[in-house]
Amino acid sequence: MKNYVIGSTSNLLEKNVAWSALLKQSSVSFQSYGDISSGLMATNDIGVIIVIFLEDLIQNSLGDYSLIEKSNQAFFSLVEKRMMESDEPIIICLASRALTSAVASARNDTRLKAFHHGLITKLVEIRNTSNSVYFINMDDVFYGRGSDQIFSDRNWYFGRCRLSVDGLAILANSIAEIVHRISNPPRKVLVLDCDNTLWGGVVGEDGLQGLVLGQDGLGQAFVDFQKECLKLSRKGVVLALASKNNEQEVWDVFENHDSMVLKREHIASSKINWHEKALNLEELAAELDLGVGSLVFWDDNPIERSKVKAILPEVLVIEAPKNVIEWPNLINNLDCFSSFEVTTEDVHKVDQYRARAGFVRDSKYVDDTTSYLKSISLKPKIIPICEANLSRAEQMCKKTNQFNIRSKRYTLAELTSQNSDPNVDLFLVQLSDNYGDHGLIALVGIHYAPVNIAFIDTFLMSCRVLGRKLESWILNEALKLAKQRSVEHVLVDFIDTGRNSIAKDFLVTHGLSPSNRSNQLLQTVNQKALGKQEGILYELASMSFEIPNLEIYDGT
């Protein structure tokens, strides 16, 4: 469970039931109210939550904000210092009470407005410079409920709490959602039904022209729903179909109905048949090389929904309201897909998953893997670490579970320092083939110790390019680098996480076996702070070991 410290300009009523959702997933210690700075000086392994009420900042200013500006400066530099020193999240919430009269709004103290906007601008700026800072403008969240419901004068004067019970619950739940999202990856695939989901009516009965799609009213709602799906796809969400239909009829709609916003090329994978949807969802996930936990299922039919829920509880099943006109807004507000860190990789991901699905489908029909792999023109490339790709390297450290020999979750700062260490070779691998550009999909870190030892500290590869024997090529490239440094012993420390057996199989088939020799080697390794042995030490049989599968990559 993650630790957080929370501080606010006013009383957040520690132990109030409002906090229970947050306390379920993390242990939280409350600072005494009014203290928003000491949390920022907590030890670096703790996340910090800060709740600022504009009214608290200005309550003693009597209209002169210059002094508050100064103390804000001090606060911001604390935030900036912390975000340099700690990789743990810093969540900052800012709330202000809305003006209730039009006259007040028209004649409102413009200095106060400028001060408020300045504060928001600064917080946005800080958030944009760091992956660990989250800024919730609570006004956006409170807006839907109305200021009068959210704030309570009585609670303020009685207990120094700005919020009503409802307001406190909304604040606490917003924080809990952010905390949850930080530690849980977003969903990746939206699986759609077709009839009465993408269009009104049943194509098998009503025919192409009989569908409700694109006209005014309900037909427009389906169009808008499709538009929202397309927007998600552009953000990197993979779209798939699971529909009980005759496949040709569905594609006929995609290709020939003028009002279809979604086109066939937007759909990465589809299961259009009469099988159980749960089975189809499992197959879809396998084809895309994802767990079913990555899927979100949208179907108008409550029976299909409840079956999927019962059989595959990991799938997020959207309880779509009966009334389709509510759908566009509902899908627009789904936050199960939103990822906090949008790397440029995410933008290309849809293409990559589509390529991956194509790859899995075709390889079923080719017996001779080697000649098949040769035929798809695999083009791997070593990419040195630089500022532009560092966050991708960190992302892979965080997310790669299967092909990962040590599963060390290195932070940006750690990777940066490794990269500047003259005794470390750290590099990424990019891969493209006939199925598409897979982007940056592997990370390797070799640490060199005295007496000609290379310690492979990081060797991880994204699961979406598994099955291409790329690991062989990468190992060979790593060995080339090691040979340039006259290395004589190559050591790999395999840490079993229960999920990375595939990486262990790789070691064994590539001349690496558990090392039973020379304590001296071990000691040298252990002296190196970076590459401490924690798992089972494997050693390469000899520097001239013939790495298998390289013929696949002959042309590169």
Binding site: N11, L13, E14, K15, N16, V17, N155, F158, G159, V165
Partner: protein
């Protein structure tokens, strides 16, 4: 009487780490470790949400025991 049962549930919910006696009628603020002034505020807010009532400032400052709380709830509900 029924109100007492409800109130005991709210006490249990608000002071999760404390043992709540079967008979709560004589309890005062301070009798339960978690029932300090912040705890009292949380307790009152929970009562308000549950009973859909709102005490005013003057009442709030006097509510420091179960018997006073019961009286105030009955009073608010009868309004």
């Amino acid at each position: 009487m029924e109100l007492e049962i409800v109130l005991r549930e709210i006490l249990k919910n608000t002071f999760k780490n404390s043992e709540i006696p079967d008979d709560i009628t004589a309890l005062c603020m301070g009798d339960i470790e978690e029932w300090d002034s912040l705890g009292n505020f949380n307790l009152i807010l929970a009562v308000e949400s549950h009973c859909q009532i709102q005490f005013d400032m003057n009442e709030l400052e006097t509510l420091s025991s179960i018997s006073l709380l019961l009286k105030a709830i009955n009073n608010a509900l009868s309004k």
